[in-house]
């Protein structure tokens, strides 16, 4: 059976956090009572007209610059025509063949285009589940209608569900840093659809793609994409064809259901919006957007972590793409710098400090923000520095970390309280324990004497147990070999 390679592209909608809507002065809202932020324009009343929000354009250009896009000198708004209750005018004002931005890339995924449009209103359904099936009456809340949206479409450069998830996290971090959106998937300010197809590995022709909708968390995105890849693989293995369709992913059941098409294949009948005038991205506008970009975006931060601080590439990306980890790490690094100077003894390497972040994350949950835990960056830095200075063994430090997560506080105090300070070769007690280990397992000792280093394991284990992990494993090994070679 042929090996298939997934080909994935993402289509992302970002709600901008301007104060007012895309084409009128109504406030944006969240969780407000229905229909209190409306006007003739966003209600689609007869005679109403749209007027473009300049700040939304500014944010759009910022996003384009951050994604390395070409900002179009001249772009147009178009009408996208279809009927639905959440679309008051019977058309959405969007951009079609002359969008604000073309090209670009983020990380290792190319961007196809970025454009501006208005969000639809909210259609609510009566009935017990609040879901559309099984309800008979729906009602529309126009508060959301008209919210500025940026649509970002990638090239189909993504090759795995994991990569899709990781890339979306990078995008979210980037947009958050720009300050242009809350980018909260659970609130709907970041929405992601995926286009998925598969093809025999090593070929270049694209297979038929399907569109996946309703993945409103990073985890659901990964699972949905994976489920769809598997479904397509099963189809092809059974000699059937993939049909182009739109599918709804249900994260609870893991099932993919074809969405009943709103109407047959859409004919949106795009034409340039006659109620608006062309948009020219002047030098001033682009310069103003560039001036509002943060000094360092996540992709750049990853590079700095790797190249300047010597972090492993994967770690660098992880810390940059998840800004909370990167921020925490840099605070700890700053604290360690000060600490290191005080200790004097060989400052802690950034890479060494970085190893402690995953240890912390393991203990607080992979989606949690370390800054909200009981472990301050300063205490993590202190702990790492103590390990480096051999004041406490690595194993003991892990125990201390667990306690820090539970109760917070100062690692030195915990070490003292629990008696977890390192036992080193200078302590007589350790030499005595090593002798007892050798005496307890003469067979292993003989093996080591005759050159078989692998046999040293049980001896080291004995000492570790006796010292309750307070001695450093490397130290123990060195001592045992010393003893046995004499």
């Amino acid at each position: 059976m042929a090996e298939y390679e997934p080909v994935i592209g993402l289509e992302i909608h970002v709600q901008l956090n301007t104060r007012t809507k895309m084409f009128c002065g109504c406030r944006l809202s969240s969780g407000d009572p229905p229909n209190i932020h409306t006007c003739p324009t966003c209600l689609g009343l007869p005679g109403a007209l749209p007027v473009v929000n300049g700040r939304a354009i500014h944010f759009g250009i910022m996003i384009g610059l951050a994604l390395g896009c070409e900002i179009a000198e001249r772009s147009l708004f178009h009408r996208k025509n279809y009927f639905y209750p959440d679309l008051p005018k019977g058309y959405q004002i969007s951009q079609y063949d002359v969008p604000l931005c073309l090209g670009g890339h983020l990380g290792d995924v190319r961007i196809h285009r970025v454009h501006l449009e208005e969000d639809a209103a909210k259609l609510n359904h009566l009935g017990t589940s609040g879901r559309i099936h099984g309800s008979d009456r729906s009602w529309v809340d126009f508060n959301r209608g008209g919210t500025p949206l940026v649509e970002i479409v990638t090239e189909p450069d993504i090759r795995s569900p994991e990569q899709a998830r990781e890339w979306l996290i990078l995008l979210r971090t980037t947009l958050r840093q720009l300050g242009v959106s809350d980018v909260d998937m659970s609130q709907g300010s970041l929405r992601c659809d995926a286009n998925v197809s598969i093809r025999p590995a090593g070929t270049t022709q694209l297979g038929t793609k399907t569109e996946l909708k309703n993945m409103n968390s990073f985890a659901f995105l990964e699972r949905g994409v994976r489920a769809e890849i598997e479904r397509q693989e099963r189809l092809l293995a059974a000699g059937e064809e993939v049909v182009q369709e739109t599918l709804h992913f249900d994260p609870v059941s893991g099932s993919l259901t074809p969405l009943r098409s709103k109407e047959e294949a859409h004919d949106y009948r795009y034409f340039p919006e006659p109620d608006l005038v062309p948009l020219l991205a002047t030098e001033e506008m682009v310069a103003a957007a560039r001036a509002d970009l943060p000094a360092e975006l996540p992709a750049e931060r990853a590079q700095r972590f790797e190249q300047k601080l010597g972090l492993h590439a994967d770690t660098a990306k992880l810390f940059a793409y998840r800004a909370e980890l990167g921020d925490y790490f840099e605070r700890a690094l700053a604290a360690a710098g000060a600490d290191g100077a005080r200790n004097g003894d060989g400052a802690l390497e950034p890479a060494e400090l970085s190893n402690w972040i995953p240890q912390l994350v393991e203990r607080i949950g992979s989606d949690a923000d370390p800054a909200t835990s009981n472990v301050t960056p300063e205490s993590l830095a202190t702990l790492a520095t103590m390990v480096k200075a051999k004041e406490v063994s690595r194993d003991a430090a892990r125990e201390v970390l667990t306690m820090l997560v539970q109760e917070g506080g100062d690692p030195r105090a915990i070490v003292q309280r629990e008696g977890l300070g390192a036992i080193t070769a200078e302590d007589d007690g350790l030499a005595e324990i090593v002798d007892r280990a050798i005496a307890a397992d003469p067979a292993a000792a003989d093996q080591v004497r005759s050159g078989n280093m692998k046999a040293i394991g049980p001896l080291v284990g004995f000492v570790m147990r006796e010292t309750k992990g307070r001695a450093d494993g490397g130290e123990i090994t060195r001592l045992i070999r010393e003893r046995l070679s004499s």
Binding site: P40, L43, G44, L45, P46, G47, A48, L49, P50, V51, V52, R79, N81, F83, P85, P88, K89, G90, Y91, V140, E263, D267, R269, Y270, F271, P274, D275, L276, V277
Partner: protein, 475 residues
């Protein structure tokens, strides 16, 4: 009282300013005439004069105005002549109506019109046809038929209508009054129930050119609510020209020479008016507008296309007629629109939807927009040699009710002299230039963008010389 209604708006304003007339009395005189209307010119008439006395200080002094049904007027029915909006009272007022009210011209009445401004005879109204005061067996023209009939019959001192493809100028011509379509963008479209966004413009229908200038002066201006509205360069001057010395008039034979296009009586009158213009000192020469003969085709692709999108909001969700609300969504949409829209509107929605649809966009809508560029270029070139382009406004005088309703194309052909100016976005005015078999004929002058003051001045000089008597229509 008959004295009052024989005054032009400007004359009435002057008398009010001089303390000779009480604006409330003027309002009431017109209100009663409007309420007793037999031409079906109105969809709503005020029940009482406006309160307050602030109008003494305003430019228009309280001379009331009638507004076409499609202008949103807060709390007052605004239906664009359609059953799908029957009784709809908007929560806001159109900018130009507000400007007029602020300038001292309160709302007297809303006038009947072809449904959604689509028509050239006012026979497409959801509320019945309007009758021409010159001959009640005949149409007043459209789509601003009610406005034109009302002004011609002395039921309103003046009116504000809209022109998309001749809808002010053609009814003005058929009713023997003045009608002006300004430069596109000169007046705000905010609050005008849309027909074709890139063509619709508000403009005056008046007894004379001076009244038209007064309305224009108080309706132009950039509106932050309308992205396509512009700051008018310069001011609108009241006309004073006594002759046409040095004025170069161009006659586009690509239009006026159209075979079988223009009625002989209308053509005769046109030639007489040209001769008069010459006596006033104008030079007359033929000019070329090579793409103008295709303007009608381009118009009947662009306007319906934009309209098909503009009318998609009538979906029974937020306002207006609802039919079959207990059926499924698609049925509710389709039956509401089927019953709420009249035949002409449905025809144009279909035409426009088709012109934009997949596979046809380039051939139809796309091509029409290119023709439009060429038409604008033709006018620009012509205006390098001529001050104004002149034509008869309408190819015929008022025709009988029902005589063209069987043939949509025949009805569309009524617009062929007016539509080129709409596509080019340039201003054009129609003034009554005489009678043909007892029915009014209109003379059209078109000028470059923002030439309204000069255009009005030239029209005024001609108007003075023509001395058209509109009083027979006032009964």
């Amino acid at each position: 009282m008959s004295d009052l209604i024989d005054l032009t708006a400007a004359q009435a304003a002057e008398r009010i300013g001089a303390g000779e007339i009480d604006p409330a009395e003027l309002f009431e005189a017109y209100r009663q005439r409007a309420a007793a209307d037999e031409l079906n010119a109105f969809t709503w008439v005020a029940e009482a004069p406006p309160t307050g006395d602030g109008r003494a200080q305003t430019p228009l002094k309280g001379v009331p105005i009638a507004a076409k049904d499609l202008f949103c007027t807060e709390g007052v029915p605004s239906q664009s002549g359609s059953r799908i909006l029957e009784g709809y009272r908007p929560p806001y007022t159109a900018t130009v109506i507000q400007k007029l009210a602020d300038a001292g011209a309160p709302l007297l009445a809303k006038t009947n019109q072809d449904e959604f401004a689509m028509g050239s005879s006012n026979e497409n109204s959801g509320f019945g046809p309007v009758l021409n005061p010159w001959d009640r067996r005949r149409v007043p023209g459209g789509s601003s038929g009610g406005s034109a009939a009302a002004v011609a019959a002395g039921l309103a001192p003046w009116a504000i209508g809209t022109d998309t493809g001749g809808s002010i100028r053609q009814p003005a011509a058929l009713c023997g009054i003045v009608g002006l379509k300004p430069t596109y963008g000169a007046c705000s479209r905010y609050g005008m129930i849309a027909f074709a966004s890139s063509l619709d413009q508000a403009g005056p229908l008046t007894r004379d050119v001076t009244d038209a200038a007064l309305i224009l002066r108080n309706t132009i201006g950039r509106d932050p609510h309308d992205s396509t509205s512009l700051e008018f360069p310069g001011t609108i001057e009241l006309p004073s020209a006594e002759d046409l010395k040095g004025i170069r008039l161009g006659v586009p034979e690509d239009l006026t020479g159209a075979e079988g296009g223009i009625e002989p009586g209308v053509m005769d009158n046109f030639k007489q008016t040209l001769a008069l213009a010459q006596r006033l000192g104008a030079s007359i020469e033929p000019c070329r507008l090579p793409h103008a003969p295709h303007a009608l085709s381009a118009y009947y692709l662009i306007a319906p296309a934009e309209a098909s999108a503009n009318l998609a909001r009538f979906d029974a969700v937020r306002y207006g007629l609802r039919v079959a609300g207990d059926e499924d969504l698609t049925t509710m949409y389709s039956r509401t629109r089927e019953e709420g829209f009249g035949a002409e509107v449905k025809r144009r929605i279909m035409l426009g939807t088709y012109a934009l649809s997949s596979g046809y966009y380039d051939a139809y809508y796309g091509t029409a927009q290119k023709v439009r560029t060429r038409i604008a270029d033709d006018f620009r070139a012509a205006f390098e040699r001529f001050d104004f382009i002149v034509t008869p406004t309408s190819p015929c005088t008022a025709f009988e009710l029902g005589s063209k309703t069987d043939d949509p194309l025949a009805m569309y052909l009524n617009d062929f002299l007016a539509v080129p100016m709409s596509l080019a976005g340039i201003p054009a005015i129609s003034i009554p230039s005489g009678l043909s078999d007892g029915l009014p004929v209109g003379f059209q002058l078109a000028g470059p963008a923002f030439s309204e003051s000069r255009l009005i001045d030239a029209a005024y000089a001609l108007e003075r010389a023509i001395e058209f008597d509109g009083s027979p229509a006032r009964g």
